[in-house]
Subunit: 397 residues, 4 copies
Amino acid sequence: MSEQVGFLTMGAARAGGDAPEIGIGMLGYAFMGKAHTNAYKKIPYMLWPPPARPRLVAVCGRNEAGVAEAARRYGYERHYTDWRELLRDDRVQVFDNGGPNNVHAEPCIAAAEAGKHIICEKPLARTAAEAKEMLQAVQRSGVKHVCAFNYRFVPAVRQARLLLEQGVLGRIFHFRARYLQEWGNSPDVAQWRYHAETAGSGALGDLGAHIIDLGRFLVGEPRSVSALTATFIKERQDPGGGTGMKAVDVDDAFEAVVEFENGAVGTLEASRFAPGRKNANTFEINGERGTIAFNLERLNELEVYLEGTSPKEAQGFRDVLVSESFHPFWEHWWPQGHIIGWEHTFVHELGHLLDAIVNNKDVAPYGATFEDGYKNAVICDAIIQSAREGRRVEIAY
Amino acid sequence: MSEQVGFLTMGAARAGGDAPEIGIGMLGYAFMGKAHTNAYKKIPYMLWPPPARPRLVAVCGRNEAGVAEAARRYGYERHYTDWRELLRDDRVQVFDNGGPNNVHAEPCIAAAEAGKHIICEKPLARTAAEAKEMLQAVQRSGVKHVCAFNYRFVPAVRQARLLLEQGVLGRIFHFRARYLQEWGNSPDVAQWRYHAETAGSGALGDLGAHIIDLGRFLVGEPRSVSALTATFIKERQDPGGGTGMKAVDVDDAFEAVVEFENGAVGTLEASRFAPGRKNANTFEINGERGTIAFNLERLNELEVYLEGTSPKEAQGFRDVLVSESFHPFWEHWWPQGHIIGWEHTFVHELGHLLDAIVNNKDVAPYGATFEDGYKNAVICDAIIQSAREGRRVEIAY
Amino acid sequence: MSEQVGFLTMGAARAGGDAPEIGIGMLGYAFMGKAHTNAYKKIPYMLWPPPARPRLVAVCGRNEAGVAEAARRYGYERHYTDWRELLRDDRVQVFDNGGPNNVHAEPCIAAAEAGKHIICEKPLARTAAEAKEMLQAVQRSGVKHVCAFNYRFVPAVRQARLLLEQGVLGRIFHFRARYLQEWGNSPDVAQWRYHAETAGSGALGDLGAHIIDLGRFLVGEPRSVSALTATFIKERQDPGGGTGMKAVDVDDAFEAVVEFENGAVGTLEASRFAPGRKNANTFEINGERGTIAFNLERLNELEVYLEGTSPKEAQGFRDVLVSESFHPFWEHWWPQGHIIGWEHTFVHELGHLLDAIVNNKDVAPYGATFEDGYKNAVICDAIIQSAREGRRVEIAY
Amino acid sequence: MSEQVGFLTMGAARAGGDAPEIGIGMLGYAFMGKAHTNAYKKIPYMLWPPPARPRLVAVCGRNEAGVAEAARRYGYERHYTDWRELLRDDRVQVFDNGGPNNVHAEPCIAAAEAGKHIICEKPLARTAAEAKEMLQAVQRSGVKHVCAFNYRFVPAVRQARLLLEQGVLGRIFHFRARYLQEWGNSPDVAQWRYHAETAGSGALGDLGAHIIDLGRFLVGEPRSVSALTATFIKERQDPGGGTGMKAVDVDDAFEAVVEFENGAVGTLEASRFAPGRKNANTFEINGERGTIAFNLERLNELEVYLEGTSPKEAQGFRDVLVSESFHPFWEHWWPQGHIIGWEHTFVHELGHLLDAIVNNKDVAPYGATFEDGYKNAVICDAIIQSAREGRRVEIAY
C-alpha cells in the first residue's frame, strides 16, 4: 500500500502528465475485460487532466492462449492464468474483477487482504451472504471498493440524480423500471449465466441488479418486494463442455412490486425474453412536481416533465439531449449533440475510482460500493424468496 | 322484447336507410353520457350501412336542470330524474348506464328484468359480489349485455388481438401494462371517485380495470396476482357537498405482479399521480416471435417487432399507423393517415352492440360482456386482497 | 340574404337550443362531403352552445344514384345533380363546395352572386387568375367566404399560431414544411387529380397548398420561391372513362426554396411518392428563442423548444399533448389526453364559419378566406413558373 | 515512401500484434485533433486484428504552449508549430489535416508532394478551384487520400448504403437532408468560421458539405441546384484578436432544391440557427419500394419502411437499432443495443484509411476521397452561385 499512500497525499492539482501511475490487474478479458480496458486506455487523455494514469500491469484468465492474445491486444505487460498469481504481483494496485459471478467472492476477498483497491462487476456475489463476506473484507482492509453499477455513470442518469437531489420532482410517488433484452429467447443459447452455481440468479442478478441499483440511487431504500420469477426454457446445453443438456435453475425473468421507505411504490422487472428490446434498461420516476424517464437504448436522452412551467400551453415531456458542456461528464467529451455511447460509462466509472484512490475521496454516493453491492444482493435474495413463498418480503440489510 | 325479436330476424343485408330504429335510454349525461351519445349520433351515417338507427328516447340524471339541458343539447326526446322511470319507458330498448359505480348494479339488474339490452360503464360494479348479481340478472333475462371496456375497440388494439389470434407472436412470455394519469396529484381535486362507497376502488377500478381487461383480451386469464396499493393523499374535500374533509378510502395507485394461466408473467399498474402522463394506457406483449406495444396517447399507432423478417439488417420496431382501409374499423373512416380519436372507440363499441342486438350475434369475444365485467371485478378484488394480506392471491371466478 | 341579416343581429349570447338554423347546400358527397357533413352534424351538440344549427338542406352531385344515397345516408332533405339548382334553392344559405378543382370557380361565383355564404375546398382554383375572379365575386357580394385550409383548425396548429403571436419564438429564421403521402407511387392509381384541366396542379395544389397556407398563417408572406417539379409516372389510365392512357400533366412532387418578407428562409415540399408517409404534413419553425414543430400524423402533439428556461439542465424539445381544457378548441372535447382526430378540424372550421355568419365576425385571421385562397394560388403559380424557367420568382399578389 | 511499399505487400492476414506501424502527423489539436487522435489510439485494440498500429509521431499547431500540452496529453512523440517541419519529419507517413479551412490546400499539396498519405477535414477547401489543385496533387503523387466525411462511417449510414446497393428501395424519388445546429444563434459567438477568407463558406461548407456528401454517397450525382443563402447576424467580433467588429461574409444558413442525375429531387438545408437542434444531421430517401431515414442525434438508429412486407397489417416505419454483430462495423464493438457514439465514426474512417494504405485498397467508394471533396466543393460553389444569381445552376465537375 505504500505507493497508494503517496498518491493519496498528492492532492488533485496537477498537470495531466504528472498524474501518478496506478497498476491495474484485470481478471477476465472478454466482454467486461474489453469494456474496462478500453476505459483505462482512454482515461489518461480524455479525463484531462487525469486523476491517474492506469498502467496495464497484467490480465488474467483461465485460457492461456486467450489471455495471451488479450494481453497482446490491449497492451497488458503480462498475463496470468491464476488470479492468485495476479494478486501476488506487487505492481497491481487495483484489482478489476470482470469474471463470472462465481469468481467474485474469493478473489475479491483475497485482493482486499492483499491491500488492492477493487472494482468488481455486478452482481457483487451470487447471494447476499457471499456479498456480505466481501463487504466485510474490504471494510477490514480499508481499500477503495466499487461494485460496477456503471449505469450510475451515464450522464443522463447522473443528471437525473442531481435533479432529484435538488428536489425538482418533490415527493416521489413511483419508480418503475424494467431491463429487457431478447437474447435468451432461443434454446440454442447456453452459458454460465443459466446456472445458479455460476451465476447465482438469472435475469435478476444480470439485469435486475442494475435497475435495483438505480432505484436505490435515485429513489431510496426499498422496504419490501412482492415477486414472481419465471423460467421459460427449462434446460439448455451444458456450458461445462459436455454434450448433454443441463437444467436451467435460474430465472429467465422476474417481476416485482416494490415499496420504498419514503412511501413510493412501483414495479421492477427484468427479462431476456423480450424480442426487439436489445438493451432496454428503462425507468420512470413520478413525483409531485414532475416526471423523469430514461431508456438506455437512447442513453444520451433524458425525458423530463415539469409541472407549473411557463407558458402552460407549452408544457410537455422534454426530450433532453444530455450533451451540453454543463451536463455531467460532458466537459470531457464533444460539442453538444455529438453523442457518446455505452462504453463511456466505464470511462466515468473507472475515472471516479482512480480519483477516489489518488485523492482519497469517497466512492459513495455517486459510485456504487461493495456496500451497495451487498444491499443489492439482499434485495435480489428477497425477490427470490418472495417468488418462492408467494408473499411480500421485507428488506432487512 | 317483441320489437327486438323483430330486429333479430331481419338479418344483416339491408340498406342503411332501412335499418331498424332502436330506442336508447341513457343514465348520466356528463363525461360518458357525452361520449356515448356522440357515438349513437354518428353510427347512422358513419357505420354505413348501419346495423340500426339509435333513437335517443330519453336521458336520465338527478339534476333536473342539468338533465333537461343535456336532453336539449343532444336531442333526447325527453328526460327523467329517476332511472326507474327511464326503465318504465317502453320505447327504451337499450339501457346505457354511464352513471357512477354505485348506480351500476341496481339499475342494470332492473333493466335486465325489464328486458332491456344493457351497456354499463366499467368497472361493472364496486365488488365482484355485486358484479356477480348483475351477471346473473342478464343471464336470466337473455338480453345483450356489454361492459364498456371501450379500448377493445381501438383499431390498433383490435389489430393486436387479430395478430395474436393468428399466432404471429407465438408463445407469450410477458404482458406489462400501466395506465397512468396525473389529475389525482392535487389535494384540491375531490369527487365520488375517492370513496369506496361510491367508487368501490380508486385508480384500480377506474384505470386498472381497463388494463386488466386488455390483459384478458390479449393474453388470457390470469392465474394469480401479488399487489400493493397506495393512497398518497389521505383526505380530500367531502364530495357530498359538505364543507369538511373526508378520508380517502380507495387507492391512488396500485402495483401488481401477474401470472397468466398460459405461463406468461408481467406487471399491472395504475396511478393518478404520474405528472405528464395525461392518458397513458400502455401495454407491451413479448412473445417468442415478436413484440407488440401500444400507447393510448397515440392510439392510431401500434408498435410491432417481428423476428426473422427479411432483410435481417432492417429488422426493428415498426411504428404501424393503423389507418389503412384493411385495418379494423377503418372501412368506415378516412384515407390512411387521417387519424381518428378517442371518441371513435365508442362508435365502434356501440355499433358492435347494436349489431349484436339486431342480428342476434354474440357480443363476445370482441366485445366485453358482463361476464368480462364480473371476472374483471374478481381480479380487482384479488389485487386489493393481495395488497392487504401481503401475499399472492389466486384468481378464482 | 334577409334571413342571414336576422342572424347577424342576434348576437352571441343565446342558449344552444335557440341557435338559429342555417341552411347548408353541399356540392360533392365523397371524401370532403363526408368530412364536412360529419362536422355539420356534430356542431349543434359539441360546440355547445352552438353558433348555429346547420340544416342539411340539399346535397348535389352528378351521379343521381350516388347523390341520392348520400342524401339518405347523411340526412340531407333533398338532392340535386346540377349545382345551379342547388343554388336556386332559397333554403340554402351556405354553399359548401367540396367538388373537384375544376368546379370551384363557376359555382362559387354563382353562389356569391346568389348571396350565399361560401366555403370552398382548397386549392381555391386551378390558377391564380381563376382564384382572383372568385375573390372578386365574394368581395362584390359581401358574403362570408372560407377557403378550407382546415389545418389552421388543428388545436396544435392554432396553439402554434398563438405562441408566435405572443412572440415566444422572437424573430423567425426558418420555416420548413413538407407534406408527404405515398398513394401516387403506383401506376394503377388514376383520377382527376393527375390532370391539369381538372386539378390545376398535382401534389402542389393538393398537398403543397396546405403547407403554403401554414407558412403564411404562421410566418408571414413569402417574398420569393425557387422551385422544381417532378412527374415520376408519365401517364396513367384516363379517368374520363376511356380505356386508354392519358399523359399526366401535373407534378407528382414539387420542391421549393422560399424566403419570407420578414427575412426567414426555408423549404417547401410535397410529394405523393413517399412510401410510409401516410399523411405527413410536417413543419418546423426556428426562431431566435426557440423552435416549434408539428406532424399531422400525430396531430394532437406540438413539439416546442424554448431557450433560456430553468433548469437549463432540463431543457429539451417538449412533446406537448395539446389536449388541455385551456388549449384551443378543447373546451368542447374530452379530458386531457383523450385525443381527437383529423375530422375534428372540420368541426372547428365550419363552426368558425357559422359563428362568423351569425355574429357577423371576420373569418380572418384565424380562418382562411378567399383572399388567402387567391394568394395561395399566386404562390402555387410562382412555384410552377420558377420550376419551368429555372429561376427565382418574386411573389406579387 | 519505401516503408509504405513494404506495408502494401504484406497483405491482410496477420495477427494484430504484427500489424505494421504507421507514423501519424497531425495538424491541429482541438476539436478534430482530439477526435482523430482518439481514433488512432483505439484502432490497435478495437479493430482487432488492426490493419496497422498508428504511431503518434507529431502534432502541429501555431500555439507553442497549446500544442506542447496536446502532445503530452495524447502521447505524440513531439510537436511542431510549423506544418512544414511536420512534413519534413520522415517518420510521418500519414498527414492528418484537422486545421481550419484556409490551411487545407497548401499543407495538403505539400504533403502529397512529400509522399505522405493524407486525410483532410471537410470541406476539402474554401472553393472548388482550391479543391481541384489539391485533388491534382494527390493524383500526381499517388498517395492515399481521404476527405473526412466521417458520417459515411456511421454504421446506420453504411447500412443505408448497403440496402440501397441491394436495390431494396428500387428507383429513388426523393432525397431530403438538413443539418441543423443552434450555436450560431448568438451575436456573442465569434470565430474563423464566420469569415470567407478562413472558412470559404458558412453553414454551407461546415454542415451542408456533410449532407451533400451523403446525397452523393446514397443517391448519386446531382444535376442542378436552386438555392438561397441567409446571414442573420451581420457582424461579429473580429476573431483575429482585435476588439472591433467584423462583417460576417458567409452564410448562416442555406436552402437548396436539388435534382439528381437519376431523376430524384429533393431539398438540402443547413443552419446554425435552429434552437434545440443540437447536431441534427437528418436525411430521408423515398424510393419506389420504401423509405430510409436517419438522424445523427440518434445515430445508432435507422428508420426503414418497406412496401409489400407481410403481414401488411403490421407494416410501418421500423426503428432499426443498428447494433447487431452483422451490422456494419459492429463486429468490433459490443453486444446489441450497447450503443456507440459520434466519436466511433472516426475509428471506422481512420481504420479504413489505414487498411487502404497497408493493403493497397481503394478508399472509394465507401470512403470519401479528395475527388469527393472536390465534387462537393463544386456543388457548394454552385449553391452560392445559384443563391447570388437567383437561378438554377447545373453541376459540372
